[in-house]
Each structure stands twice: as structure tokens, then as C-alpha cells.
Subunit: 429 residues, 2 copies
């Protein structure tokens, strides 16, 4: 192939990101050609509904036969932007079988069944790139897979879902309730009509699984991730966090446990205002990495949206295209460490526990004894009398989830403690 | 070569970073082998003084004949950690001529004469990686060269020198003078005995040249960078910045000018407290990228030190080694845009100008007229009477450096204005 022979590109999906990618392939054609060494030619776009108006898109490229397009033998690079498990998986496998490299933003598929995709790519000698699947335009996959590959990553922690960050930010700023802010976010287009994937933490959990796989050279799946959304976060929780000098963020967290297994989960978490993640506003994303030698690194930027996601897709497309031109491929899946997952109950965190108790002598001692019985040690206690009752806020040192759960169950059985007990993880040592 | 044949590594330099790299090549040998697909074998370390004690380093590896080591035909990968122009350049060229890929942290050499190195590598078909040359362990070279390669970067701005950031941070916190803080930084080992490269901005300027080359696909050299250090920053400047809700940072800045040339410089700059770069503490580095599609990204982390730099070197080493195993190479120098440099006088910035004037009717009008004559428009003016004299602080809108210089010269010629006029750039629109 000489330098003027185009590399052929097929696009699956033409929504917000897809149509932006299609436009940029035309607009930036000269730059892309200069950076790759050969031109790119968009040869087809698979869509569900052929009849829709698509401004700026060449109608002759459209097809509703995605499988035929993905499996074209003359195509070099397939971009998958449909999302979801099927038909995305079948289409990606068809593309790989036909010898194409794949660029995808599909976090759900990679977290659910990435192993199948990576194995097929390995066997076919093609690339699968997915920078856009986690934290939008923020380069995080490539730094983990390549820049930090000579180091030992010990923890990755991030705000990787813009919708929930927007909602929690608003709840903090306005003191509003979750339901009201969600309704507003839906009106503004920041949240989907069915917000489950975002607010219940599924989206963040899929990203946590992908980040953990890369950071710890192991295969980690969505089902490995302990997951808690933000639907249970109340304005009282927000107020309590403020009192403690914290903000509440939905954190995706993966870290090496002492026994070498991977502790990972997505939980609403109190983050001290002094922590760099505390200041990440609205729809931004940020990922914080701790590694043995590099120390603490943080990456922030827009976590979603058509343009940022298209930027990440095109960066991967250029890299995959360069590999084609050189007849090589990038690093594949790395699972040699084969680390297990820390059982959720054994994962350690600091906790903030707040409750209402009878304001009588000896009650604080009883509560403290209850924590001690489960070997949960306390860092700070704050008691505030409100007449016959008192509010009690307890900050623990690092404790296992099992120990906290047992403590809470015991507290609930005490006559002096009201059953409504709020518990939240706290980031920081 | 089968999978058990080691790739041979030569190390030039065994100071803080070099000795750490040598140790990690042993300690992390299994991980590195798993990630590369073949083992690495350190076959020699070039040092200036053979007789020095080097704990943990195998003495049989040491040699003082760097040229012979660098040029060994059986070596695959050469790590250059000597710094400076010569003999580093000759050694790197010898390594490339012998068919080795090179990993270097040498910002001075790359900013001065990178073109020679990259051209030699291109001709020989080998890699030159240099993540450690800019911002220590923060992945910034790879994101610019690969992740954002499908986008159009419009500006890169950063705190890329830890020594000056430490000094300015201390001056802010303690209200101390430059000379006192520098002496303290030297005592603590944060500043060199000869601090010129850091405090005069040469180190930051070299990094700015490297970042601009990558961001704008052009060849940019150290001599293209307008440079001003922090030796002229006074405690009065710091106090004035505080009054304006700003902190002073030594910013390396490169951006596309309207005419498509590259505006770049290193200057002490007032940064509004709300800007993410304002909060970067002490010896940390941070790089802020603006691009057309990805939007605003920020990367932060430790900017120097043996461990973080070693992490960046090893990440590059693994990448270069993987390329060897696959018989390929990574992206080379990209200069197709061949953009020119904006003349320093034509670079636009906001400025803060503070001066002492005679406190008499009409003086403010005269000063304002002087700015207007040079077409510098004012955003804010703050006047504070001190009896017979008044302090006057003026924040401009975007103005060209030439216009500001001419304005200051005119102001100095006015009898009502004291000759001591402080001028500083201000970041933000």
C-alpha cells in the first residue's frame, strides 16, 4: 500500500458522538492524514433509522445493515458507538473476525465481557482501543496502560460519572433534595429520562471495573464491583458532610488490599474539602492515581459530551491507524497478575456514622462500647444536645465493612438509639 | 529471538534517578518481563567516578567509558540520565547509530537540538521516548503525542518547575522575600547550589519548547521561548497579587495566536485563586491543556524527585521494549504544521501594573490617557491615597507586550509617576 491509499473506516452509530466523529473525519482530514501517514476514508455509517434527518452527514454512507458493514473485509478500522451489550458485541466480534481494529466507547460491554473481545483481538492480531469508555476526553486508559506500566499502581479513585457529580454539586450548593435536583437535571438534559444507570452507580461501576483491570493487570468485571448509588443521599447527609468540612462525591475506588486482592466499589463518599477531588465541579470528571514510585497523580477534564468523547475516539483512531500503517499493534489485555477480588465485607474504609440518641447519662458510653465490641476505633465524636434527644456523629478510623454493618445492627437494637442511622464512607487516611 | 532472550539495557548516569532505575530493574524484573513479554537485562552503567560508593548497585556493571557502552551493538535500549548537552548528545547519537532505542529525561538537550536526535532516530528506525523530561511522573508527553492526536490543541500552560513553585508558595505563605526563601530551599535541598536554571526560568523554558513542539506539530527550540525568571518577584508583588485574589506562579505558556503562529513564554504570572493551577502546592507540577474538542484538561502530580522520574523512565522503557519485541516503533517527531513563532512583542496577555503617583487632581486621568494612547484598555483600576502619594493598581484587558512596554516607558517619563513600576502578566480571559 502506498502512502496515498486510504485506510477505510466504518462507523457504527450516529448519535451525538457518532455524528461529531463523522464530521471531524471530514473537517480534520488533512491533519489526520499528516499524523497517520495515510488518509482515512469513512466508507459507511450504520444507523437504526435510515429516515432521520442528519445534518452534515452524507446520506449515501448510511446503512441499516450494521453487521454487513462491520464485517466488510476491505475495512481497516471500525468505530463502535452504539453502547449496550448487544448488538454491539456481535458487531465488534464480526469486525475483529474480518481483520479490522476496533475503537469503542462501550464501557458496559467491556466491563461485562471485555475478555471475549480482547481474546478475539489477540487471536486476530488487531487492536481494541477504548479511551472514550472512561472519563470522556481525559486521557486515563493510555496513561494506565503505557505511561505507568513501569510502576506499581496501588489505588485508582475517581469521579467518573458527570450526572451524579452534577446532582451532588447542586445538592451541596442549593441544599436541595435529591428528587428535586434530579428532576432539574433531567429538564436540563444532564440526566436521562431513565436515570438508573447513572444514579444507581452502574455506569461508574463499569468504569471502575475497566480501571481496575488496567491498574492491576487482572480481569475485573462489573459484577465484581460493590455498588451503591446516590438515590439514598439526603439533604441531611449533605449538611452533615458540610459540618465535617467535607463534600459528598460518588467515588469509584479500586485499591490493592494488604493480601494482594483488589478492593473495589462505587459509593457516595465524604471527601475532605482539602482533597483535590473535592473541588471537581458539575459535569467534570477526575481520576486520582496512587502509585509506588510516581506518587499521587490527578487527571481532570470534561467527562462526557459529544465533542470530548469524539476527541478521545479520534485519538484512538489515529493510534490504531498508525499501528496499521506500521503493520503492528498496541499492547493487548494484560491479566498476568490474576488478582482476586477482596470480599466486599473485608474492604476497609473510614466511616462517618450519625444517629439520634436519648440524651441521658451513660448513652455515649454505651454507643462507644458498641463500636469497641466490633473493634471499630473512633477518630472523633461529636455530640449535640437537642433537649430529650441528642445528635451523635462518629468518625471512625479504618474499619472493615462487615464490622461497621455489625456495629450498626447492634446500635439499632439499642433502645436509646433511634433506628434511623446514617452511614457513609469517608475518603482519606 | 524467543521469549526468554533478554532485551539488553544500558544506563548512562547513576545519580538519584539512575540508581533508582537500576534498582527497580532488579526489584520489578518479573512484572516488567510480564508486561513486555521478554526479560530486561541491565548490561552496563556508565558513571563519571568509578570509585564512589553506590549502595545496591552491582559494581561489575560500572564503566567510565560511556561511549563504548552507548555504542554497543548488542544493546537494545539505552537510558540517558546525564543531562546537559554534551556528552549526552554524542552518546545518544552513538546509541541510535548502533541501533538502540533511547529513553531520556534530558529536557535541555531536546529543547536545544531535539531535531538532530529525532532525525537520527527516524533514519535508524528506533524510538526516542522522553516522558521524564517534562513534569516528572505526570504523563503529559504521551497524552499530547497520542491521546490528543485526533484533536486540535489550542493552548498548553503549566507549572513545570517544582523549585520555583516551592519558592513562590513559601513567599505567599510566609510573606518572606525571594532571597530568604531561596536560601531556605537550598538548605532543604529543593534548590541547587547554583539555582540559575530553575530561578531564571531556563528549565521551564526548555519544557515549554518541548510541549509546544508536541502540541502544535512544529519544531520549537529553547531560543524561541521568551523567558523571565522569578528573581525579580518581590514581596510587594506577592502582596499585590493577594489583594487581587491571585497567586503568583511561574507559568510556562504556549498557545496558538490568531495568525496561526505559536505564542510562547515563561513568566511569573498572577493566577486567579479560582483557577485550578492556583492551588498546585509546593513541589508539585501541573499542566493545563485546552483543545478544540476535548475542552480543558488538567494533569497534576510530583514534578521531580528520584522515584517519580524513575517511574516515567521505566514506563518509557517498557513501551520502547514492547516496540522492540513487536519489531515496530512508536510515533516519531511530528513537524508537519511547521508553525512560526509569534514575536514576543506581539504576544497578548492581561497585565497588572502597579505604581506610585502624586496624589493630585488629574493624575489618574493622565495615567489613563497614557494607557489609552497605546490602545491598552483597562478592566479595573484601584487607587489608594497615602497622603501626598497614592498607590495605583491597573488591570488591563488583553494587550500586546509591545503596547505595554511602550505604555510603561511613557509612564516612567511622567513627573507624577514614580519610576518604580511593577508589571506582571495575569492569566485568564
Amino acid at each position: 500500500m502506498d502512502e496515498s491509499t486510504p485506510l477505510k473506516v466504518a462507523l457504527l452509530g450516529c448519535g451525538t458522538v457518532g455524528s461529531m466523529v463523522a464530521r471531524l473525519l471530514i473537517e480534520q482530514a488533512d491533519d489526520l492524514e499528516a499524523r497517520i501517514g495515510r488518509p482515512l476514508e469513512l466508507v459507511g455509517i450504520a444507523v437504526r433509522r435510515l429516515e432521520l434527518e442528519r445534518p452534515g452527514i452524507d446520506r449515501t454512507l448510511l446503512t441499516d445493515d450494521a453487521l454487513s458493514l462491520a464485517g466488510r473485509a476491505d475495512v481497516d478500522l471500525v468505530i463502535e458507538l452504539l453502547g449496550g451489550i448487544e448488538p454491539a458485541r456481535s458487531l465488534i466480534l464480526a469486525a475483529i473476525a474480518a481483520g479490522s481494529s476496533v475503537v469503542t466507547a462501550n464501557k458496559a460491554l467491556l466491563a461485562e465481557d471485555g475478555g471475549t473481545i480482547y481474546a478475539a483481538a489477540e487471536a486476530a492480531g488487531v487492536d481494541v482501543y477504548y479511551e472514550a469508555a472512561v472519563a470522556g476526553a481525559i486521557p486515563i486508559i493510555r496513561p494506565l496502560r503505557e505511561s505507568l506500566v513501569g510502576d506499581e499502581v496501588t489505588a485508582v479513585m475517581g469521579i467518573v460519572n458527570g450526572t451524579t457529580n452534577f446532582i451532588l454539586d447542586k445538592m451541596h450548593t442549593d441544599g436541595a433534595d435529591f428528587a428535586d435536583v434530579l428532576a432539574e437535571a433531567q429538564r436540563l438534559g444532564y440526566a436521562e429520562t431513565d436515570p438508573t444507570a447513572d444514579v444507581e452507580g452502574y455506569d461508574a461501576a463499569a468504569k471502575a471495573a475497566i480501571l481496575a483491570s488496567l491498574a492491576f493487570h487482572s480481569r475485573v468485571k462489573l459484577s465484581d464491583v460493590a455498588r451503591e448509588g446516590i438515590t439514598g443521599v439526603t439533604s441531611a447527609d449533605i449538611a452533615a458532610a458540610k459540618e465535617m468540612g467535607c463534600v459528598i462525591k460518588l467515588l469509584a475506588r479500586c485499591a490493592l488490599s494488604d493480601d494482594g486482592t483488589i478492593a473495589l466499589g462505587v459509593h457516595p463518599t465524604m471527601v475532605p474539602a482539602s482533597h483535590p477531588l473535592a473541588a471537581i465541579p458539575g459535569a467534570y470528571n477526575a481520576v486520582f492515581i496512587e502509585s509506588r514510585h510516581a506518587g499521587r497523580l490527578m487527571f481532570m477534564g470534561p467527562g462526557a459530551g459529544g465533542s470530548p468523547t469524539a476527541s478521545a475516539v479520534l485519538g484512538d483512531l489515529v493510534t490504531a491507524a498508525r499501528n496499521r500503517v506500521r503493520g503492528t499493534r498496541g499492547p493487548g489485555e494484560s491479566t498476568y497478575s490474576a488478582r482476586g477480588i477482596t470480599p466486599a465485607g473485608k474492604v476497609c474504609s473510614r466511616y462517618y456514622v450519625s444517629m439520634t440518641v436519648t440524651d441521658a447519662p451513660g448513652v455515649l458510653a454505651q454507643v462507644a462500647t458498641c463500636f469497641a465490641r466490633h473493634e471499630v476505633s473512633l477518630q472523633a465524636v461529636r455530640q449535640e444536645s437537642q433537649g430529650v434527644e441528642a445528635r451523635l456523629g462518629v468518625m471512625t478510623h479504618l474499619a472493615m465493612e462487615d464490622a461497621i454493618s455489625a456495629t450498626i445492627a447492634d446500635l439499632r437494637s439499642m433502645a436509646e438509639v433511634r433506628p434511623q442511622i446514617a452511614v457513609m464512607r469517608v475518603e482519606g487516611a
